[in-house]
């Protein structure tokens, strides 16, 4: 809902020479790419390629070994993410994310999850709790507004009926969408989604695609999308970055990437370079809650 007013040439996110080492292991190796406003940028790559590590660096969970992560906030200007604390990246730079294994507040209700996401605004409105404790109107209004925003997203993800359920009791697919909605409630300019379609059935997956394109088109923000499901990636992304063993091996439009021999090699191994539309088989996620993230 932020009015984007960046020049077309300054990208929303500019990653330059990002390197992340864990002891001897180089999980991200000199990765550089750009992500634009109102575009879905997909990050793909085999397991262990360093996709989640990239997100963790972007959102302040890991301090990168080296590199520059520049975010151009349409109203607040340039932010260097690698120098900011995790919570400030979400609060001040407007970067929101979801997690590979869902991290909802499982024992809180769906609505509460969405209200907690609006913490900082509500906190200010409640005069850091003092006015709120005394029942000031300003806080009551702010809370009503927060509920309205939550209701807006509940309608989008079709959970209005179940707003008062415990989030942990929702079916898996709904939890995934709730996590996206929760991230959107922080009113971000860049939304990072870590395998949002993992473990979804085809219908849920299609719903999710619609939700993501809706966010891109109606809320005019940039999206970073980690995904193994090629139908999702090819269907909705505007731009694709391919990682393998921590290195960027390709970067371009879906069409260009699909035909890139390096990408095909990374997915299928060297001997098989036969052109194939389904060259990149979707990863089979046996245990959707598994994975190390």
């Amino acid at each position: 809902m932020t009015d984007a007013c960046t020049h077309p040439q300054t990208p929303l996110l500019h990653v330059e020479h990002l390197t992340m080492r864990f002891g001897g292991l180089v999980a991200a190796d000199d990765v550089s790419f750009k992500a634009q406003d109102r575009k879905i940028t997909a990050i793909i790559g085999p397991n262990g390629a360093g996709k989640t590590t990239l997100f963790n660096c972007l959102t302040g969970f890991y301090a990168p070994t080296s590199g520059r992560l520049e975010l151009n906030h349409p109203t607040r200007g340039e932010c260097l993410l690698e120098r900011m604390e995790g919570h400030r990246i979400a609060r001040d730079a407007g970067v929101a994310r979801t997690f590979q294994n869902i991290r909802l507040f499982a024992r809180m209700t769906v609505l509460e999850n969405l209200i907690v996401a609006q913490h900082n605004r509500l906190m200010r409105a409640s005069g850091f709790s003092f006015l709120g404790l005394l029942g000031f109107k300003r806080y009551v209004d702010a809370e009503t507004q927060a509920v309205e925003l939550a209701r807006y997203w509940l309608d989008r993800i079709g959970l209005t009926e179940r707003a008062d359920w415990e989030a942990g009791n929702l079916p898996y697919g709904d939890q995934r969408r709730l996590e996206v909605a929760r991230a959107m409630c922080t009113e971000p300019v860049l939304l990072c989604l870590d395998e949002p379609a993992a473990g979804l059935n085809p219908r849920e997956s299609a719903d999710l695609n619609r939700l993501l394109t809706f966010i891109r088109d109606e809320h005019s923000i940039g999206l970073l999308l980690i995904e193994h499901d090629m139908s999702v990636v090819m269907g909705i992304s505007d731009h694709i970055v391919v990682l393998d063993y921590g290195r960027k091996i390709a970067d371009g439009t879906p069409r260009a990437v699909r035909n890139d021999p390096a990408v095909i090699r990374a997915y299928l191994g060297d001997e098989n370079d036969e052109e194939n539309d389904n060259a990149m088989p979707p990863k089979v996620t046996a245990d959707p809650k598994g994975g190390d993230v």
């Binding site: 864990f22 989640t52 963790n56 969970f61 890991y62 997690f99 190390d292 993230v293």
Partner: protein, 304 residues
């Protein structure tokens, strides 16, 4: 200088007690990732068992002392680990996979329950062991100050070093040690590859309790006085030692134990005795803040 050497000797023997207990904290932490708050109480029970056996044999004088000491040592090493085992079975195993807070609370519940049980059974007053094994070598003299290294201190060091070597060998060389390391890495995978995880964890508690019981015996010999409450303070200090050395690291626990022992000895020797416990706690806080991985611990990056 002489005074310094004396404090050094005292500190090292004290450190042996902390180090032996700290190993128990570290091993349990390594395998189930939580602090066994009740471990200090196991130490206390070990001291009681040793005292009961020593007094029960009724031979605290004369040439039978070595026999009594060995019997007390073996006895407490056999009886006390049963408490370690029962502790795991009753308070920890049922809660595996529950929220952390719940496990922490059972651990604290146990550390309240055990000393009170001992208090009810044995009374609240102090218990004494008549001094055994007196005398020692005078190794240095100067300025009217004699540095002594008592037989007891030699015994303590020999015992501690032997046990440390033995346990390091167990963990590095035996199947049990391999199973333990496997469980540390990944319990599910360990179970899938045929390791009996429950048994391995139980044995870890038993091993920790064995060492703690020896520490209890050493404490008893050195101070000659115990009560049901000793587990609390000594337990916290041993935990500090484990953290200082790097929790999860076996050599770290021993190193931390000796360091804490030395710090305490020098602190009471050169500063104030009253605040010696404050010194230990302050170290705990400082280490946790500035170097949570301790001296020898592995960095623990949180997986997101």
């Amino acid at each position: 200088m002489e005074y310094f050497v004396q404090q050094l000797i005292n500190g090292l023997t004290l450190g042996a007690v902390y180090g032996l207990i700290a190993i128990g904290y570290t091993m349990v932490y390594g395998i189930i990732g939580m602090i066994n708050f009740a471990h200090g109480e196991i130490f206390m029970i070990g001291a009681f068992h040793a005292l009961i056996i020593a007094l029960g044999l009724g031979i605290t004088t004369g040439t039978w002392i070595p026999v009594a000491l060995v019997a007390a040592l073996v006895g407490t090493m056999l009886l006390t680990p049963i408490y370690g085992w029962a502790l795991e079975r009753v308070a920890y195993r049922p809660l595996r996979g529950s929220p952390r807070l719940a496990t922490l609370i059972t651990a604290i519940g146990m550390s309240i329950y055990l000393p009170n049980q001992v208090q009810l059974l044995q009374g609240a007053r102090i218990k004494t062991l008549p001094p055994v094994l007196q005398g020692g070598f005078e190794i240095m003299e100067g300025g009217g100050f004699v540095v002594t290294l008592s037989y007891l201190q030699i015994l303590i060091m020999v015992l501690t070093v032997t046990l440390m070597v033995a346990f390091t060998l167990i963990i590095e060389k035996t199947a049990l040690g391999r199973a333990q390391r496997a469980c540390e890495q990944d319990r599910t995978m360990a179970a899938l590859s045929g390791i009996n995880v429950d048994r391995t964890i139980a044995l870890t508690f038993v091993m920790g309790a064995t060492l703690a019981s020896v520490a209890g015996m050493i404490f008893l010999l050195r101070y000659g006085v115990i009560d049901f409450f000793i587990g609390f303070l000594v337990g916290i200090k041993a935990f500090t030692a484990a953290v200082l050395g790097g929790i999860g690291s076996l050599p770290g626990a021993m190193l931390g134990g000796f360091l804490i022992g030395l710090i305490e000895a020098f602190w009471s020797g050169y500063f104030t005795v009253e605040y010696k416990d404050v010194a230990a706690f302050s170290i705990l806080v400082l280490v946790l803040i500035f170097r949570p991985t301790g001296l020898l611990g592995k960095p623990d990056i949180e997986k997101v």
